[in-house]
Symmetry: C2
DNA sequence: GCGCGAAGCGGAAGCGCTTACACATCACGG
DNA sequence: CCGTGATGTGTAAGCGCTTCCGCTTCGCGC
C-alpha cells in the first residue's frame, strides 16, 4: 500500500495525496475522498521514504549509560513527555557504561539520520568531545556540564555540600563512598564538596576516608565493608548515590553498627530504595523527570534553529530522614 | 557524501561501490581504490535509502513495559547480545505499563519497517492478540506464553509452587502479595501455584490472604501493611516479585515482626535488591539474560524464514536465604 | 470584458541506494 | 578458432515519497 494506490483509489494525483498529508492546500471534495480511502485502507506513509526525501526523520536518539537505573528512567520519561507531544519518536541506545559504545552510538545515530540526540552522560572525556564536535545534528547533554554545548545538569556540588554539612555532631572520621573521578558530576564534584564541607568543619584531610566503586548496591556494600574493616572508628558515610548508601546500610548491619547512632549515612537521588531501606535515607531529591523535560525542550529549540548553547542547572531538595541525626 | 561521490572519487560506477558494500564481486584493484576513498571520506551509506530500496532495515524493535526494571534490563541485555552480533540494531520502545501504548507501538514499529519485533509482555488481552495477528513482521513474545505465537516464558507456576511448598513449619495463615490477574505469568499463575501448594498442605482457602498491587517496593509495603493491620496472625508472605517482597520486609519491620521467626517471606527473580535487604530473600533465580538471548535467536530464525511457532520454557533455580526457615 | 491574484491540482524530478540485465573480457577445452 | 562459463563492470530502473513549477479555474475589481 503506497501513495500511488491511494491516489488512484481517490481519483487524484499522488502530489495531492502528499499535500493532504502535509501542508493542506487541497479542496474539500478531494480531501474527503482521500480521507475515506486512507480510512478504508489503513494506509500509513513510509517513514523511510519520507526521511530519504526530506532529510528529516522525526526521530530523536537518546543515549543512556544503563537501562536499569531509576534516575535514567525518570529522565527518559521526561524526555518522552515533551518529544512525543511534538511529534517525535524516541529511540533509546543503551551503552551499558561502555565509553566506546557511547561514541559509536553517537555516530550510528547520526548516520541513521536522527534529527537530534540527547546524551545522558556519565563520563565525558576528550574522545567524547571530539565525537560531539563532529556531530552535525543538534544535541544536548543531560547530567553533566559541558562548556559550549547545550546541557542540563544538577547542582551536585551544592547538594553534596549541604548533605555533608548537615551531619549532626562530631563526625571526626567521615568516609565518602563515591564513583570514578572521570564522572565529573557524580564522581568528582560530589567528592570535592564532601572534602570542602568537612574541611570547613575542621576535619583533617587525613581523617577522611575515600572509596571509589560502581553505581550499585553491591559496590556500596563492598566499599563500606572495606572501610569498616580498615577504619572501625568511621562515624559517617556520605555516599554518591542512594544505591551505594543502601549497600552501606547492609554492610553496617552486618558489622553490628547502629544507624544513625554509630554511623550516619546519606545518599543522593531520592530513589525508591532510599525510602525502602531501614532507616530510610537522608538524601537529596533530584528533579530527574523535569531535567528530561528541560533537555527535550532545549533540543526542540535547537531543532527550530536556535543554535546558541544553553546551560540549565537544576535545583534539588534536601530530605532529612532516619539515616542521619537531625536536630 | 553519497555513493555517487565515492564512485567518482574511486573512478568506478556506483554499482561497483554498492557491490563492494554488499556482496563482493569486485576486482582487487577497484576494491582497494574504493576502500581507500571510503577510508578517507568516512562515508557511511544512508540506511534510509538502503531500507527504502531493499525493504530491510536491520532494525529490531523491542517493546518493554517499563524501563526501570532489573528483569527487563537483563532481558534486553540478552537480546542485544545476540542481535548486535548478527548485524541488527535494537530500538527500545517504552510503554510505561500502558496497554494502549503497547498496541500503538506495535503498529508504529511495523510502519517504521523494523525487520522484527520482540514484545516483553505483562498483559496480553484480546486487543493485543488482534494487533499481533495483523502484524506482518516476525515477532516473538517474551515473558508470557501465547498459543500459536513464538514465545519464551518462565515456569512461573512451578517456581511459585516450589517456593510456597518450601516454607518450613506451620504456615496456617499465609498471604500472597501479587499483581493483577491480567498478567497471566506474574499475576495469575504465581497466585494459582500459591493456592494449590497451600491447599496441598491442607491450608484452608479462607485462611489465605490475597492482595494485589503493583510491581514496586512501595506497593509491596502497602499490601503487607494492610495484611498486618487486618490479619496480625499472618505468618508467611509469598510475594510475586522481589520488589514486592522488599516492601513487605519494610512493613514487617515497621510492625515489629521478626523475619523469618514470626513471618517468612519469599520473592521471585533474584534481583539485586533480594541480596541487599535484611534478611536476604529466599527467591527463585530466573535466567532473564538467557531468556533474552533465546528470544533473539528465535527471532533470527523467523527472520531466516522459519515460520513455525516455537515455545520455549525457561527453568529457574531455587535460592534459600534468610527470609525463610530452611531446615 | 479583461487582467490578475489566489486556490487547486498534476507532472516530473530526484532523495541515495540496490540489483536485474546487458555487455565485455578472459581462460580453457574441444 | 570458436563456444562457453566465470568474472567483472556499467546502465538504468525504481523503492515511496515531497516539492518545485507550471497549468487551469475562478472570483473580483476596474
Amino acid at each position: 500500500m503506497n501513495i500511488n494506490e491511494i491516489a488512484t483509489l481517490a481519483g487524484v494525483s499522488r502530489a495531492t495525496v502528499s499535500r493532504y498529508l502535509n501542508n493542506g492546500y487541497v479542496s474539500e471534495q478531494k480531501r474527503a475522498a482521500i480521507a475515506r480511502v486512507i480510512g478504508e485502507t489503513g494506509y500509513v506513509p513510509s517513514s523511510h521514504a519520507q526521511t530519504l526525501r526530506t532529510g528529516r526523520s522525526h526521530l530523536v536518539g537518546v543515549i543512556i549509560p544503563k537501562i536499569n537505573s531509576e534516575s535514567v528512567s525518570r529522565m527518559v520519561a521526561g524526555i518522552t513527555d515533551v518529544l512525543e507531544e511534538s511529534g517525535y519518536h524516541v529511540v533509546l541506545a543503551n551503552t551499558d557504561n561502555d565509553d566506546e559504545a557511547e561514541i559509536q552510538y553517537l555516530r550510528v545515530l547520526a548516520d541513521r539520520k536522527v534529527d537530534g540526540i540527547i546524551l545522558i552522560a556519565t563520563v565525558l572525556d576528550d574522545a567524547h568531545h571530539a565525537a560531539l564536535a563532529e556531530l552535525t545534528v543538534p544535541h544536548v547533554i543531560l547530567g553533566q556540564r559541558a562548556a559550549g554545548i547545550t546541557c542540563v545538569y544538577f547542582d551536585d556540588y551544592q547538594a553534596s555540600y549541604d548533605l555533608t554539612q548537615g551531619l549532626y555532631g562530631s563526625c571526626d572520621h567521615p568516609a565518602h563512598l563515591g564513583v570514578t573521578d572521570l564522572d565529573e558530576a557524580a564522581g568528582r564534584l560530589r567528592l570535592q564538596a564532601f572534602i570542602d564541607a568537612m574541611e570547613a568543619e575542621d576535619v583533617k584531610r587525613e581523617d577522611m576516608l575515600i572509596e571509589r566503586g560502581e553505581f550499585t548496591i553491591e559496590s556500596g556494600r563492598e566499599m563500606a565493608a572495606r572501610v569498616l574493616r580498615e577504619h572501625p572508628e568511621v562515624n559517617a558515610m556520605v555516599c554518591a548515590t542512594d544505591s551505594i548508601a543502601a549497600g552501606a546500610l547492609a554492610a553496617l548491619r552486618d558489622a553490628g553498627k547502629r544507624v544513625p547512632e554509630d554511623v550516619q549515612v546519606t545518599g543522593i537521588g531520592d530513589t525508591e530504595i532510599s525510602r525502602a531501606v531501614y532507616p530510610s535515607l537522608t538524601t537529596a531529591h533530584y528533579h530527574y523527570r523535569s531535567s528530561g523535560r528541560q533537555a527535550a525542550s532545549l533540543l526542540l529549540a535547537a531543532l527550530d534553529g536556535d543554535s546558541t548553547p544553553h546551560e540549565v542547572r537544576m535545583g534539588y531538595q534536601l530530605l532529612l530522614r532516619g539515616s542521619t541525626i537531625n536536630d
